[in-house]
């Protein structure tokens, strides 16, 4: 990696880093301990230290981003959805108890007539948090990739995403779209800043490759996890919920759409230009 590139990476790191120096250090320590095997480049960049001139040169937009992140509910997404809405959209329906994956046990409220019922109270808080994260990432100019392999919902997901001006991948996943991007796209790789999985299964038997690949590249992910999901630990922001009903999918789509639109509107209001 060229020196100039590394320098550029550092500059961007610190231009966008909103935490104070101490928190940043904490991040660095954590990252070194956690990712030392995964991302040598990243650790290298972190170890360079803080470029003094960049920390001092804080523009107005950076202050604005700072405020946004410190706010508890900057985009007004906290009461966007109620427990009743989730219930009406059948989010609580899990799979047959025999299909349950043990990693999903903490999110299961109980089992009724052989069907697992998801604990909607946990879903609600996790969903709100995920929406907030999604909105923040969009607010800061991030790209969002929606992934869904359910053929029944494919046209709806694609339509919504197209209207939003974000990105969709509901088609068969070519191996290495993230991990081998340079060769596949024949350019320097471009990655989304957030992956939203409206269902983490590729087929009924397999986990979607994008879950693994986004995890390898440290791309944050939001995932709707049904009770048979075996990749709960690979999703950054899990949302336990039914991923097979049109009603629940329509609800998720509506919520993410609202969050992204609100974030984009705020971005425009606050005059943040990329």
């Amino acid at each position: 990696m060229a020196a100039s590139l590394r320098k550029a990476l550092i500059s961007w790191q610190w231009q966008n880093c909103l935490r104070s120096r101490q928190v940043a250090k904490k991040c660095v320590q954590n990252q070194i301990s956690a990712f030392s095997s995964c991302s040598s480049l990243h650790v290298e960049v972190q170890l360079q230290g803080v470029p003094q001139n960049l920390v001092e040169a804080k523009g107005e937009t950076q202050t604005q981003l700072d405020i946004a992140l410190q706010h508890k509910d900057y985009f007004g997404l906290k009461h966007l959805v109620t427990l009743r809405d989730l219930f009406n959209a059948r989010v609580h329906y899990g799979h047959n108890a025999g299909l349950r994956h043990e990693s999903m046990t903490p999110y299961i409220y109980g089992c009724r007539q052989g069907t697992d019922i998801i604990d909607l109270e946990q879903t609600l808080s996790l969903l709100e948090q995920a929406l907030d994260v999604c909105a923040h990432i969009v607010y800061r100019g991030g790209m969002v990739l929606f992934v869904c392999r359910n053929l029944q919902f494919l046209p709806w997901v694609e339509k919504t995403v197209r209207e939003l001006g974000e990105y969709a991948h509901c088609r068969p996943w070519k191996r290495g779209i993230f991990t081998n991007a340079a060769n596949i796209f024949n350019t320097l790789p471009i990655y989304p800043e957030l992956c939203i999985f409206l269902g983490t299964q590729d087929t009924v038997f397999e986990t979607h490759r994008a879950v693994v690949e986004s995890n390898k590249l440290l791309i944050p992910s939001i995932g709707i996890l049904d009770t048979n999901t075996d990749c709960a630990s690979l999703i950054t922001y899990p949302i336990p919920g039914n991923d097979d009903s049109p009603e629940s999918l329509a609800l998720y789509l509506h919520l993410f759409k609202t969050a992204i639109l609100k974030a984009k509107e705020k971005r425009k209001q606050d005059g943040i230009v990329s």
Partner: protein
């Protein structure tokens, strides 16, 4: 978390709060946004870099690493093409001198002819023969930049690696959904679907080929993707309201060269009473027939000054009326036929052949093609086969017993 994972324990979310914050803080660095360069890299101007300003300057453009790499690639490709084009021009002039022609007015057609003359080649595949062509025709076409200066892809399906192809599938899906909705509306309003739109006529065209689709989307797609495309297109085109989307469907169809277009239809003439008619002659076996078709008419049929009862067998009547049912002119034309020689089968066939030809004067090209496809415009060449000596008939042998 009881799940065993090959990844570091950090991935098992020991502290979700921290991880979420961490992701927010690190995500820009993971990605593409890199550096602020003045626009002179793009335009070749002399604007200076404005780094010290607190406010981002209007002159400064953020260019991603990906964009920078792309621009370098394009520059390299352009240079290559420049030299290739120069080589081509020199080669062309050289060839003109060899052929003793004026190099300035030497066209591509002349080049092809000269190459064929100077380097005769019997290789079967034309692509394998020597050629001299403009480099832009030989080098594969390149896609334009697929992302903005900030590294944000233009296309919402960029990550699928075949955005143009999948966009076509997306369009087909939603157009079909639109037609289904319309169909439901018509059904609920108790309207007749056939009155709303005519069925789509795609007989005179065929789906674009695999290679054409590849050229259209400029992407590497597989044969199975093409099959998928065809299946979806067939589904759209077979919808009863498909003619509403005719423009879209026809983008993906090739016009067929109509074999019937080469056939010359007899002229439409006018008789003493002012009725327009056309006539034609036909033959089948030993029979000969001449048919006059009058339009407009009432469906009257005259054969040798008798009506349809000239043929007692229903099969013969059906035979000679078949072209009328293909063209949909049954009951709209009058027919006057003269038939000579042969038996009823031959006469009915001869009348049918003559009638089909005469009808061509009154129908559109598409229907003419349908007539041709149903075999109405082809002379039946079969004749009676002669009897052979030593045999009972043309093929039949005498009974033979060994003992």
């Amino acid at each position: 978390m009881a799940l065993s994972s090959p990844l570091p324990t950090f991935f098992c979310r020991p502290n979700r709060q921290l991880y979420s914050r961490l992701c927010l803080t690190i995500f820009p660095a993971l990605n593409r946004k890199v550096t602020t360069i003045s626009s002179d890299l793009v335009n070749g101007g002399n604007q200076s870099v404005t780094k010290s300003d607190n406010q981002p300057s209007a002159k400064a453009i953020t260019i991603s690493r990906s964009m920078k790499a792309y621009m370098e690639k394009v520059k390299k490709h352009d240079e290559l093409m420049k030299t290739e084009v120069a080589d081509y021009e020199i080669g062309k002039r050289h060839l003109a001198n060899i052929m003793g022609a004026d190099p300035d007015t030497f066209t591509q057609e002349d080049v092809d002819r000269a190459i064929e003359y100077l380097l005769p080649n019997g290789l079967f595949d034309k692509k394998a023969r020597p050629m001299l062509k403009n480099p832009y025709e030989i080098y594969p076409k390149r896609k334009a930049a697929e992302f903005t200066f900030e590294g944000r892809p233009f296309h919402w399906l960029y990550f699928t690696t075949s955005p143009n192809y999948y966009n076509i599938l997306y369009d087909i899906t939603w157009k079909l959904e639109g037609l289904k909705t319309l169909e439901d509306q018509l059904y609920n309003a108790k309207k007749d679907i056939s009155s709303e739109s005519k069925p789509l006529n795609i007989a005179s065209s065929e789906w674009i080929t695999f290679d054409q689709l590849k050229n259209k989307v400029l992407e590497k797609i597989q044969e199975k993707d093409y099959q998928h495309f065809i299946v979806m297109m067939e589904r759209l085109a077979s919808h009863p309201l498909a003619s509403k989307e005719e423009e879209f469907i026809m983008q993906y169809r090739n016009k067929l060269h109509l074999a019937s277009a080469a056939l010359i239809a007899p002229p439409v003439e006018t008789d003493a009473d002012g009725r327009s008619f056309s006539w034609a002659e036909g033959r089948r076996k030993d029979s000969w027939a001449q048919v006059k078709v009058y339009k407009p008419g009432t469906g009257q049929v005259t054969i040798n000054e008798k009506d349809l009862s000239y043929f007692s067998n229903l099969l013969y009547r059906e035979t000679l009326l078949f072209p009328l049912s293909v063209t949909g002119l049954l009951g709209q034309v009058d027919i006057v036929a003269d038939a000579k020689y042969g038996g009823p089968t031959g006469q009915a066939g001869a009348i049918r052949f003559a009638l089909s030809q005469a009808l061509c004067a009154f129908v559109s090209d598409d229907i003419k093609e349908q007539l041709r496809l149903s075999g109405m415009l082809t002379r039946d060449p079969r004749k009676r086969e002669r009897k052979k000596p030593g045999q009972e008939g043309a093929r039949k042998k005498f009974t033979w017993k060994k003992r």
